[in-house]
């Protein structure tokens, strides 16, 4: 391949890049970011696989640098509302953490029905799963398991013994890395309320999500698993419960058959849904990394061999960070609520970060609606927050950008999106500058009939934060 003489020359980038992902336009990153990005790609397996002979990587770098903007558009400064519809209350802290906790997941579930709902927290950094009353102002959490970098927990009575258990997706490392330390762990509740860890699957890459579901309608619980991995590892997996084949007896651990649904890495979420209303559950997966897509998988006669992309982001720097299936327009089918704001690849705040609603029009056709720009958008949840009968949204941001502190201070870290008319959302900034909210969830903490907001905290550079700082903050809904 000839080195181009000028920036206007063209390179066979279509063939060069599209073996692994969509063709990235130079405009998606500033000039300064392209050399490291291209050289990193050049070290990976798929680079230039579509082209015969060797590729002059320097020419590719030169071309991207020549055609890229000097810098990306600066994010617009915002200010928090003078009288926001949510008010922050006292924070909840974990007792004596060794390091600043990183809340990767919050879940409200009835683990111990006699005591009201629990708030379950995964601390990715210190490797703990904690639970405490979700309704009490004095949370007093108990550590129910120590696991290496838990990413997400879901409540399920896996062994049908009448006691609620948890299944946990275990990353094995909070750092992005290819290894085989990922696990799926069942925290089995004993009669005395203790949770005993049972490893259901190990030797995996980093596991980001596990969803219990009776996917085949045979009456037992299967597990859909998003093994995110990193660059070389990762799959979308189904662990099919083979209880009927179980030889371990009624008290033994359930046995599962591993089914590889897709060999792609980068799956961060998986959810079961019947998107087309045919009575059969599909699996919907959110992919990050270079794929940046939402893909639905169907089970056919030959197994889980059919899939289609419901959404594919325009380029691999998109930064998908969360997905929720919810009937946002209340028309009887599940829509997709997406955030894209992951900036841990190059610490840049992107003008295309934000919150999007993919409206289900039936027949697997989804229409994209951009709801709000939010640098570092990382998590979102939907509920009728103001009691007017339609669904509203809240969203949080997580980012540690190499940006001026005054710029970061003027960015929204919590947003409320009030649905004022069908499909029309009014944005209210609840908080600015604290872009360290990896997760949030909604629960009526004060029993006033309106969902309150639980915001989990975490960041990778915790050197300026006390370990005893609040891990979760409750924001009370003031809409009434």
């Amino acid at each position: 391949m000839q080195r181009p003489a000028s920036a206007t020359d063209t390179l066979p980038t279509e063939k060069l890049c599209t073996h692994c992902h969509r063709l990235p336009e130079p405009a998606i990153l500033p000039q300064s970011a392209w050399p490291a990005t291209i050289w990193q790609m050049a070290g990976l397996g798929g680079f230039a696989t579509n082209l015969p002979g060797d590729v002059d990587v320097e020419a590719v770098v030169d071309w991207y640098v020549a055609n890229a903007p000097l810098r990306l558009a600066e994010p617009t400064a915002v200010a928090a509302a003078a009288t926001p519809h949510f008010q922050p209350e006292a924070g909840l802290s974990l007792p004596a953490p060794a390091a600043v906790p990183f809340v990767s997941n919050l879940l409200v579930a009835d683990l111990l029905p006699a005591e009201g709902p629990e708030l379950i927290l995964c601390d990715m950094r210190n490797g703990g799963v904690w639970a405490g009353s979700a309704d009490s102002d004095e949370w007093q959490p108990q550590k129910i398991a120590s696991l290496p970098s838990p990413a997400r927990a879901e409540a399920v009575d896996l062994d049908a013994d009448g006691r609620m258990d948890l299944v946990v997706a275990v990353l094995g490392s909070s750092m992005a890395m290819d290894h085989l330390l990922g696990q799926v762990v069942w925290l089995r509740q004993a009669a005395d309320g203790r949770f005993d860890p049972v490893v259901l699957a190990d030797g995996l890459g980093r596991v980001a999500d596990v969803q219990p579901v009776d996917i085949d309608g045979d009456g037992d619980i299967d597990l859909a698993v998003a093994e995110f991995g990193w660059r070389q590892t990762g799959h979308l997996l189904l662990y099919e419960n083979t209880a009927d084949e179980n030889t371990a007896g009624p008290d033994g651990p359930p046995s599962f058959r591993r089914i590889e649904i897709d060999g792609l890495h980068g799956a961060s979420r998986v959810e079961p849904a019947d998107l087309d209303g045919d009575g059969q559950l599909e699996l919907v997966a959110l992919y990050a990394q270079e794929h940046e897509a939402v893909r639905v998988y169907h089970r056919g006669a030959a197994g889980w061999t059919e899939s289609r992309d419901l959404f594919r982001a325009p380029h691999p720097a998109w930064g998908h960070s969360s997905m929720q299936l919810i009937d946002l327009d209340r028309d009887g089918d599940d829509d997709l609520l997406l955030t894209n704001g992951d900036a841990y690849d190059n610490a840049l705040l992107k003008p295309y970060h934000g919150i999007r609603w993919l409206e289900n029009r039936g027949g697997f056709e989804f229409v994209e609606h951009h709801l709000a720009h939010m640098p570092g958008a990382y998590a979102a949840a939907a509920a009728d927050l103001d009691g007017d009968g339609d669904l509203d949204l809240v969203a949080s941001a997580l980012a540690e950008p190499e940006a001026d502190a005054t710029v970061v201070q003027s960015l929204a870290s919590l947003l409320w999106l009030e649905q004022t008319e069908p499909g029309i959302f009014r944005t209210e900034v609840l908080e600015t500058g604290d872009l360290r909210h990896p997760y949030l969830t909604l629960h009526d903490h004060n029993s006033d009939g309106l969902p309150d907001l639980f915001v989990g905290n975490g960041c990778f550079d915790d050197t300026a934060i006390e370990p005893t700082a609040a891990s979760v903050r409750v924001w009370t809904n003031q809409s009434r």
Partner: protein, 412 residues
Amino acid sequence: MATPRSRRRFLLAALGVVIGMAVGATVSLNWSSYDALTPIREALAVHDLPTAARLLNEAAETHPGSAERALLKARYHRRMGQLRAFRQSLTLAANLGSPPEALEREQILMLAQQGQLSVSSAEVSELLAAPGDDTLEIYQAVVRGCLTTMQLGEAELFLDGWQSDYPDDPMPDYYLGLIDEHRRNWPAAATAFASAVEKGLIDQQQARRHLADALRSDHHYREAVTEYERCDQDDVGVLRGLAGCYESLRDLDAATRVYAQLLARFPEDPAALSAAGRLAARRGDHQTAAVQLARAVELNPSDMQAWHALGWTRVALGTPDEAQTAFRKAVRLSEQIQRTEHLRRRVEEQPANPTFRLQLADIFLAEGRIDDGLMWLRSVLQVDPDNAEARQALDAYSSTTEAAPAPPVTTF
């Protein structure tokens, strides 16, 4: 409008740091008249330490009882960072009748160079107020001290003054390159090292290697190869850099060849074993990779990349339990590397805050990297001379190692 440089000059003046202007009472060595020791002084002035060493040895024959020669030898050892030899030469100078003020000045310079005296201390302030003929020595010692204790902003102030007073001196460019290297500002580092080379830095090898490293880190692999090839090919760092460039340029045959050459000369170099092992794994030769990587982590248990590659090699060789052990090591080390990076950034943002320096010291000491840990402990005392935690830790280590003990709370 003030340029960054003029602004730094202004800050320097605001600090009361005015060098090279004092003409009053000076206790510096009197270099003003030419004598038989002048070539030694000139060699030191152009940072030609090998020549200075040779001339000092020759002068031992011609000036066996010269107090000034002994003092110059102490100065040479200080520049070389040879503490014990420095003390011996200084003691000899004292016995031969060197003026106490000159001896004290050399000691102050040594402490400043080691980062054990703050630039705002009374001792350094006195030096700066009356530098005599020692301006260059003062710049050198203070800048090295600032770099040792990661006071990069202050180092830049003095480097600006140094460049202004001695525009042809390549050393400030070299030190500026080191600062940019620390900040991972590779284009600026490459420019600074190239300037040091162009101005004729005596240690061309060192400057060129840094230049090549900066070019490589800035992804200019072909230019880096050119610079590495101009360096001494017996240098382990040069060969490692060269092989790394070939790997990045996807010329695995050339990389394999250089690693073979490297290991033939330095069979127990842990970084070479690590890099060669990783390349062997990349090429599918897991048996070779396993041997090289296992030895690499034996020699350097902190090598995260080697542990990680060893994990995958063990997977390929069918020993998954051993692979998991290697992966866990790699994960722990990667978390530690990330934390260290964050703390270094905090130190640069808040150089006067001892907390982050102490945390870095803890990490390195726990990891067995004693020299790094002690350096950070000493740097704590520079910004907080009364810090009891650092002092106790340093005293504890100095009783078990040959490291320099913590300086007294009140120096001199």
